[in-house]
């Protein structure tokens, strides 16, 4: 019984941890949207900045990955 409750808590926690991915989604959208608005203002400079676009996306995404990691740990390791 107690193990069931612990498992239930782990599953609920894993589900809650997935909310963090929404934050990562907001962050990635923010980076990409700002890149696009900048690129439309100055299309000539856009091509040179794609590397920074992807680096920015990767860093924003990293925090979503941590929530995914927490979910994985709760599912399989706790």
């Amino acid at each position: 019984m107690e193990g069931d409750i612990v498992q239930m808590g782990a599953y609920i926690g894993a589900g809650l941890a997935c909310l963090g991915m929404g934050g990562a989604g907001i962050g990635v959208g923010h980076v990409a949207g700002n890149y696009l608005s900048g690129a439309l203002r100055n299309p000539a400079a856009a091509a040179g900045q794609t590397a920074f676009l992807f680096i920015g996306i990767a860093f924003a995404e990293a925090l979503g990955i941590f929530s995914f990691l927490v979910a994985l740990l709760l599912m399989f390791a706790v």
């Binding site: 590397a51 680096i55 990767a58 995404e61 990293a62 990955i65």
Partner: protein
């Protein structure tokens, strides 16, 4: 968990199971598994395109030669742009990383194939290799001055110890995010494709709706496979830049 005799029986994670190729259940250190097979195929594919494909060295490249040349100049320019001119010394390593990850991702998209990069164990080794290389390189090239990476000179003095702590944590978290990003993206994409494929089996006559969805998803996954290889490589370049020039 889903019952075996239920209507909807989708097991999206089964495709990631590591199994021995030549019978038995035991998976040890040196057992030849499907991971071994697909990694070998990845290396074979990279060798084919980079060595055999580019062998002609024609002035007007053939198709396979131009693929090799595009990949080569793409990575070369990326290292120059992100890590600087002196990062070009590490071109062979970064090129190898890119080609391996790219082809592992792309080969994993073949139906019934095994995606080696969907396993955190595989990507963690790649990311740890980068992390250790970059850290050792930073200390060898800069000595103790490498630690200035964590000491943000442009910040107010009172903030610097706190920033140093944050920088230190973010430095050691790098291999974690570096590896899980790739494995997570690959695993999630393939699992979603499997779930949609399972819908096709369950829907009967309306099977074409999920099949169309899977087709669209497959195109997206092709994009993700290339972008994740690109991101993995460009982050390697960023970490390399920190080792070569540890000043903010």
């Amino acid at each position: 968990m889903a019952e075996a005799n239920g209507g909807l029986n989708i097991r999206p994670m089964d495709q990631f199971r590591v199994e021995p190729l030549f019978g038995g259940d035991y998976v040890g250190m040196f057992t030849i598994t499907n991971v071994t097979l697909w990694m070998a195929l990845t290396v074979l594919a990279v060798t084919l395109i980079m060595v055999v494909g580019a062998r002609g060295r024609a002035l007007v490249p053939t198709r396979s030669q131009s693929v090799a040349e595009v990949a080569y100049s793409f990575i070369y320019r990326m290292i120059e742009d992100v890590a600087g001119r002196d990062g070009v010394r590490f071109f062979p390593y970064i090129m190898t990383l890119f080609m391996f990850v790219l082809f592992a991702n792309l080969l994993g998209l073949i139906p019934w194939a095994f995606t080696t990069t969907s396993h955190i164990a595989v990507t963690a080794v790649l990311a740890l290799a980068v992390f250790i290389t970059v850290t050792v390189l930073g200390f060898v090239l800069n000595g103790a001055a490498f630690l200035r990476l964590f000491w943000v000179d442009s910040a107010p003095l009172a903030l610097r110890p706190i920033l140093a702590l944050i920088e230190l944590i973010s430095y050691f978290v790098r291999p974690v995010s570096h590896s899980i990003r790739l494995a997570g993206a690959m695993m999630a994409g393939h699992a979603v494709a499997k779930v949609f494929a399972g819908f096709a089996a369950a829907l009967g006559a309306a099977f074409f709706i999920p099949v169309l969805a899977v087709t669209a998803l497959y195109a997206l996954e092709l994009l993700v496979a290339v972008i994740q290889a690109y991101v993995f490589t460009i982050l390697t370049c960023v970490y390399l830049k920190d080792a070569l020039h540890p000043h903010h």
